[in-house]
Amino acid sequence: MSTAATPHGEFLQHHFTTAEQQADAGKIGMWLFLVTEVLLFGGLFVGFAIMQSLHREAFVAAHHQLDRVLGFINTVVLLTSSYTMVMAVHSARTDRRKRVVVYLLLTLICAGVFLGIKYVEYSHKFHEGLLPGRYYSHKGDSVPGQFMFFSFYFMMTGLHGVHILGGMAVILWVLRRAVRGDFSHAYYTPVDLVGLYWHLVDLIWIYLFPLLYLIK
């Protein structure tokens, strides 16, 4: 298939011969990037597992300080955002350009709500002195060593939060292109790839929520 003849040949970079080749290369690149993300978080998960096994009582006692309800609401918010993201990709693929914009906006709003709730949680923890490492100053702990749990809580949710921010930035970028009308069934790779990334960010939260909020 000669893409130069299609109306969206303008997005074909010079070193690719066909649009499929370009889209496939992009997907390989994004999947590899996601693998690196899994390994990056993997280090923290392994560290958490080992420290939790060494300090089981302290970790269980510390996790009671977290607000399960807020954590649960955030899980629902992120799952919803995954749905709207999928619908954005689907709409792009089926040439429903207005819907792409709407769904991307909804995804962005969910991301914002997630961060808002996270802000409420964080400020509560700050107030209580539930801080990482040497800054931990919570009074009246029955089990010593709970600072370690909060070290991991802040590192893991913090790194995840940075990824949410990054996700919002790239969603804004594809939103701008969607408004401009760049995407159609012939060319929607950017939406597709941002979608893949967004699902991974959600997936990591799906692991973080039970790990941090629901341990026994």
């Binding site: 080749q21 496939d24 290369a25 690196t36 080992i50 490492g133 070290s151």
Partner: protein, 534 residues
């Protein structure tokens, strides 16, 4: 004829914003050579300090900083990016018959991230330096003064550059091969780079998070690596070597990839055991993830884990041996000519064999207890990394230099320099095997009098090495001032990169190439340029 990639488009700005893999490769080349010079100067200083026991030219604290900087610069700024990012960037797309790598802008980003990382590293050097050794072991690294935070952040940043290069090469090899180039018609260089890229992508994120944890430990005392707070310093070693052992294969696999190109070319023979070499690269990449524990045989790891890691370490010898025997079988009854690239390739074979075999001494549990943290380890490491990777890098540099810059260098001086480097290397490091087996510990500022003769021997060797590199710098620089007269294919080699002009045009090929034969077909006559354009 249109202009070549060096001259068109013109201007500094066109270089700074270029997305051409060839220009990015050249920029990487000069950057890593600069890093090599810097790391080399630190190496010379170390050797001068060790001429006699006690204080010579620097204090003990300075010495700790100098060997740390030597290691950190050579590893993170030179050897990891050396072959893939410079020669690989330049040659890989040409070899595959592609116009560029899959993600040209990501490629440029990777270069600027490298530069940013290098700037952070230099900032760390001038603001208190680092005295932890390049391995940043805890708890020392989380408690010592100096710029450990800045240096680890520099390495964290450099990791992204490495990851982006890896992602780019995997996608390029999957999607941008010329028509007719199946997986088993790819040059073995591409296989080696592919295996390297897999490790870059899978291992580098782990060092990234490990270094972040060091920074967190320094800033917040998070506790994970601090035994006083209930953490585990050995856990750091596991995290660190989970990356850094595979990383030595990031360093050696591209070297092996170059050797697989040079040996058939200068033996005028088809490579022996193509598929075995291709698969052995992948096998090394796979096994590389399962051997990290052999760095912790004396760190208090369980005996069972030690035994398993020791066994797995021996496994690495199999694919490595497969390669070495195949290269030698390729040379057997070949029509061997000894131009500079081949001299370095043969140096590689000899030195890598010694480096590889002494690795088995260290992989064996009982001998490692004796040899751990001695000069034996230092010598082994330098035989593999310098005798292996650097020799291969120099082989590739001399092999592709005419292609990159369109000029031949002085063959006579290249041979002189190769001889000096080979002899100088052996004088410097063979003596360190003896020092180590007699009990000289690594990283020591001073030593017992009985070790002095061998230390002097080693230091004199480092001067020979330095002289060899100085000569190389002069004749390579001189070649750049000559008119562009290199033929398209000065070595009569078979790869697609030799079928375009030297230096290549901006978009690599005047006509998109297609592939109709195997990669090392030295038996049939060379393809004429008419055949290529047909």
């Amino acid at each position: 004829m249109t202009g070549n990639y060096l001259s068109s488009p013109r201007g500094l700005k066109s270089w700074l914003i270029t997305v051409d893999h060839k220009r990015i490769g050249v920029m990487y080349l000069f950057s890593v050579l600069f890093a090599f010079l810097l790391g080399g100067i630190f190496a010379m200083l170390i050797r001068i300090e060790l001429l006699k026991p006690g204080h010579n030219i620097m204090s003990a604290d300075t010495y700790n900083r100098v060997f740390t900087l030597h290691g950190a610069i050579m590893i993170f700024l030179f050897i990891i990016p050396s072959i893939p990012a410079s020669l690989g960037n330049f040659v890989l797309p040409l070899m595959l018959g592609a116009k560029d790598v899959a993600f040209p802008r990501l490629n440029l980003a990777s270069y600027y991230i490298y530069v940013a990382g290098a700037l952070f590293a230099i900032a760390a050097m001038v603001t208190g330096a680092v005295d932890t050794g390049w391995t940043f072991y805890t708890p020392y690294s989380t408690t010592t003064n100096g710029s450990v935070g800045l240096m680890t952040f520099a390495v964290f940043v450099l990791g992204f550059s490495s990851i982006f290069t890896g992602i780019n090469f995997i996608a390029t090899i999957h999607k941008l091969r010329a028509p007719g180039m199946g997986w088993f018609r790819m040059p073995l260089f591409a296989w080696g780079i592919y295996a390297t890229a897999i490790i870059q992508v899978l291992a580098t994120p782990v060092i990234g998070i490990t270094l972040l944890l060091i920074i967190m430990e320094r800033v917040f005392s998070v506790g994970i690596f601090n035994p006083q707070l209930g953490g585990d310093p050995i856990l750091f070693q596991h995290f660190f070597w989970f990356y850094s052992h595979p990383a030595v294969y990031i360093m050696i696999l591209p070297g092996m990839a170059i050797i697989s190109e040079v040996i058939p070319c200068f033996s005028r023979k088809t490579i022996f055991g193509y598929k075995a070499i291709a698969y052995s690269s992948i096998a090394i990449a796979g096994v590389s993830f399962l051997v990290w524990g052999h760095h912790m045989f004396v760190s208090g790891q369980s005996q069972l884990a030690n035994a398993i890691f020791s066994f797995l370490t021996f496994l690495v010898a199999i694919p490595s041996g497969v390669k070495v025997f195949n290269w030698i079988a390729t040379m057997y009854r070949g029509s061997i000519s000894l131009e500079a690239p081949m001299l370095y390739a043969i140096s590689f074979l000899l030195l890598f064999a010694i480096g590889g075999l002494t690795g088995l001494f260290l992989g064996a549990l009982a001998t490692d207890v004796h040899l751990h943290d001695t000069y034996f380890v230092v010598a082994h490491f330098h035989f593999v990394m310098m005798g292996g990777t650097v020799m291969a890098f120099l082989s590739g540099l001399h092999y592709w230099w005419p292609k990159m810059f369109g000029r031949m260098y002085s063959e006579k001086w290249a041979r002189v320099s190769a001889a000096l480097i080979f002899v100088g290397f052996n004088v410097t490091f063979l003596s360190q095997f003896v020092l180590g087996s007699r009990g000289m510990p690594r990283r020591y500022y001073s030593y017992l009098d009985q070790f002095q003769p061998l230390h002097v021997f080693s230091t004199v060797g480092s001067w020979l090495l330095g002289l060899g590199f100085l000569i190389m710098a002069v004749y390579l620089w001189a070649s750049l001032r000559r008119p562009m007269d290199a033929p398209a294919n000065p070595w009569g080699a078979t790869g697609l990169e030799w079928q375009t002009t030297s230096p290549p045009p901006e978009h690599n090929f005047e006509n998109a190439p297609s592939v109709t034969r195997g990669p090392y077909d030295y038996s049939s006559p060379e393809p004429t340029s008419a055949e290529v354009e047909a």
